[in-house]
Amino acid sequence: MKQIVDRLRQEAARLLAAGDVAMVIGYAKGTDVARTTPYFATNEEEAQNLTWNPFCTNNLVKYLLDFRFEDTKLAVVVKGCDSKGINRLIYDRQFPRERVVVLGVPCGGLLDRSKVLATIDPGAELQSVEDLGQEFVVRTDHGEFTFAKEQYLLPKCAVCRNPNPVISDVLLGEELPVAEEEKSDTFDDIVEMEALDPAAKSAFWDRHFNRCLRCYACRNVCPACNCRECAFEQAVPGWQQEACWLSKKASVDNNYTFHLIRMFDVTGRCIDCGECERVCPVNIPLRKLYRKVIKDVQELFGDTTPGLNIGDGLPLTSYRKEDPEEFM
């Protein structure tokens, strides 16, 4: 891991010094080791603040959009899951391939910070962390702890199919092996949900959506949500004078509308980076929604997870004669 960090700093410093990129978007230490923060290095000196560890959860791809109307070239650090977001933005014509240098990190999985803290002590200060392959070693002010990956990975990492970036210009480390049997997702959690009767499903989502604060963090962090202006923020949508898409009142009915529209919008486009669920301040199981559409798209249109390569057509915007008509 130390090697990755060294390589990252070297590469970033080189790119910045040579003037190849104006900025390297990566991670730096935040509040503590377990709270890394997005970091924007603009010179060689700042490049030395960049870091990498199994707490680097943020998907940094979204930040490219802040620069989409400029002409500078940028470098961005991505994990396997995030890298699909690069393909998303390129496919959606939101960021040109030639303006981004992708610094790929092979990622052995991310540690679930809350689980770790719950095990040690919620007040503990985490000082360093090391990925040893099957386990993580975390040094804290309470001593050293070892966490088996099986139990302490973020949920999305436990079923990860893409530990290696699917698109990258510089790979900062050795590619990680992927076991054959891990290559297909069985969607157990979704199947379980589908099996419930309508009333039970309804009760489940009512409870979760009822507490949605409509902070829009899920939307703002999502690389598939890349519209210049969000329909939910248009006081007067052009084609529908005087009517709002959605009331600002965060009641359960409006919240349903918000989440269902967003869900439908990312159908066939969601790359399952899991950021929406991570950022949700009220723990709404959003991946249960978005993974459902991934599963359905796979079943109906035979597509794999979106974002694996740039050329993927979008199943809902392209017509094929063999498309199913199960609803008729």
């Binding site: 949900m193 589908e194 309508p198 009333a199 039970a200 499903k201 309804s202 009760a203 489940f204 989502w205 009512d206 009641s251 359960v252 009915d253 349903y256 509308t257 269902l260 869900m263 439908f264 159908t267 929604l289 459902k292 559409v293 359905d296 798209v297 109906l300 809902l316 008509e325 609803f327 008729m328």
Partner: protein, 53 residues
């Protein structure tokens, strides 16, 4: 897709239907509407996504 999603969040499957009806098939429109109306009457009013008040 949409029907699957509606069902997933707890709408009864019968509440949403799509039919392919040509402009010359007036009778089919009526039939479908009646059929649909009966199904929905049997289900009762939709409580979902209504304001709690």
């Amino acid at each position: 897709m949409f029907k699957r999603l509606m069902e997933y969040v707890g709408f009864e499957p019968e509440r949403f239907e799509v039919r392919w009806i040509s402009g010359s098939e007036g009778g089919k429109v009526v039939e479908t509407a009646i059929e649909m109306a009966e199904k929905i009457k049997a289900l009762g009013p939709n409580r979902k996504m209504r304001d709690a008040k």
